[in-house]
Amino acid sequence: MSNYQIEFRHVEKSYGENLVLENINCQVKQGEFITMVGTSGCGKSTFLNMLLGTESHTQGDILLDGQPILAEPSPERGIVFQKYSVFPHLTVRDNVAISKEFESSFIGRLFGKQRNKALDEADKWLDAVGLLNAKHKYPHELSGGMQQRLAIAQALIKHPKVLLLDEPFGALDPGIRKDMHKLVLDLWQKYHLTIFMVTHDLEEGFYLGTRLWVFDKTRHDPHAQNRFGSTITFDLPVGKTDEESLEIIEESLSLHALSA
């Protein structure tokens, strides 16, 4: 068995004639933090959804710990979406404790001692994301940043092998976004997480993570835009996140943004 946690081998994704991703080959080790950027429609979200299990690849293999990845969402892969990640009808605390209830009760509801134990564990994770003070509130009483903190706590309590973030901070104010970056980096280091994060903010991609992936098309057919799919055109380790590379990527992205 290889020592990679996640492997993509010649993965391709198409919708009928419409080729979205092609020739995806990559290996990721446990504990890496990968940020993914690209123009809209470049397939970075499709890539994340294939990892998540909500979309299936049409060719090739995706392996998680050497095994083919499950074709539906599972506790191995935690997710934080840009919004709608939390349950509006549950308090902050219950939002985190609910996965414990799913785990140990057929009807998804715990009582008495067991419930208290679940709530205690939920509090621990709420503390880790800085939400302990708001534990009795409902999500609608929280700011956007706090809701994302909650969504992260929800995911972490399951100890997922991989944490997937789908433009998690895209809707937040710049100041709040800074705080969230710090939080994610702290959690990543503390719990040795493997993180995949989609972002449309190139700076964010550069600042966070150990690897930056750029999704783009390498071939263009001017008469049939969907003939060729995107692939990973840049795979930069964190050490290379210098101004020069930033400019090169920015240029390649804006070129295609113009032609698209």
Binding site: L52, T54, E72, P73, S74, P75, R77, G78, I79, F81, K83, Y84, S85, V86, F87, P88, H89, I98, S99, E101, F102, E103, F106, I107, G108, R109, Y138, P139, H140, E141, A151, Q154, A155, K158, P160
Partner: protein, 271 residues
């Protein structure tokens, strides 16, 4: 501010403006009643206030000579019983089927076409069928209400279930939930306030079918009484009954709204 769309009434003005049409309507009635009475003291079409009072007193506060019952209250009790039984049954069926067809695509594909087809049948057209099948007792009246509003409830709740963001379902799966747990812990609690919304919308229709059923085959009930006394042109009974039904309808609606706000604060705050 010169544009009409920017002129907003203050609170007292808004109340006064809202009450005004009611006062105008009553004044118009009073004027009409007096004019007609002046021409013909036995006029029955627009009775005077004192005639209303005596009709209400006769039906609500004097025992009926024939049965010893207080007819008005007996009618109210029978009607409310039928209405509530029908509405509660419809709500349960609507909730169950709406939720399950919305949550499980295989069941949705299986049941949605027939639910759509049934919902297109005008309920009044099958009233004879209900009378034949369920007899002339309480059951056929309750069934008419159930047949009348359930398809709407199912289809509405199906749509509401579908409207719950898919992100939540994916999230629940990554938290280890199975389909059953997702239905009862994620979907059901979020559908309940929407059920109350749908019930408020369907109450008017429920009243319509209740009164129709009572008009055709009943021995008591608010609708029965109205249709009974119309033979005698008893506007002094019909109008108070209509107002009473209106008041009851308003109270039920208000009660549902209050219940919803009390039980599901997160739903109303998020809207």
């Amino acid at each position: 501010m010169n544009r009409w769309i920017n002129k907003k009434p203050s609170r007292p003005l808004a109340i006064a403006l809202g009450v005004l049409p009611f006062i105008l309507l009553m004044a118009l009635y009073q004027w009409g009643s007096e004019t007609r009475k002046a021409e013909n003291p036995n006029d029955k079409l627009l009775p005077s206030v004192s005639q209303f009072q005596s009709a209400i007193d006769r039906l609500a506060f004097t025992p009926s000579k024939r049965t010893g019952e207080y007819l008005f209250w007996q009618d109210t009790k029978s009607s409310l019983q039928r209405l509530l039984t029908g509405v509660v049954c419809a709500a349960m069926i609507g909730l169950l089927l709406g939720l399950i067809t919305g949550a499980i695509p295989l069941i949705g594909a299986n049941l949605n076409p027939i639910i759509t087809a049934i919902s297109l049948i005008p309920p009044m057209a099958v009233l004879p069928l209900l009378l034949i099948t369920f007899g002339l007792g309480e059951l056929s009246k309750v069934m008419l209400i159930v047949v009348g509003i359930t398809p709407f409830l199912i289809r509405d709740l199906y749509q509401r279930t579908k409207d719950i963001p898919n992100e939540q379902l994916v999230k629940a799966q990554t938290l280890g939930a199975n389909s059953f747990q997702i239905i009862i812990r994620v979907l059901l609690p979020q559908i309940l306030p929407r059920l109350l919304d749908a019930l408020r919308l369907s109450l008017g229709t429920a009243w319509l079918f209740l009164i129709a059923a009572e008009a055709i085959a009943a021995t008591d009930g608010l609708g029965y009484r109205i249709f009974l006394v119309r033979r005698y042109l008893s506007m002094d009974v019909i109008l108070p009954y209509v107002m009473w039904i209106t008041l009851l309808a308003f109270l039920l609606d208000w009660l549902l709204m209050k219940t919803s706000k009390k039980a599901f604060p997160w739903y109303h705050a998020a809207k």
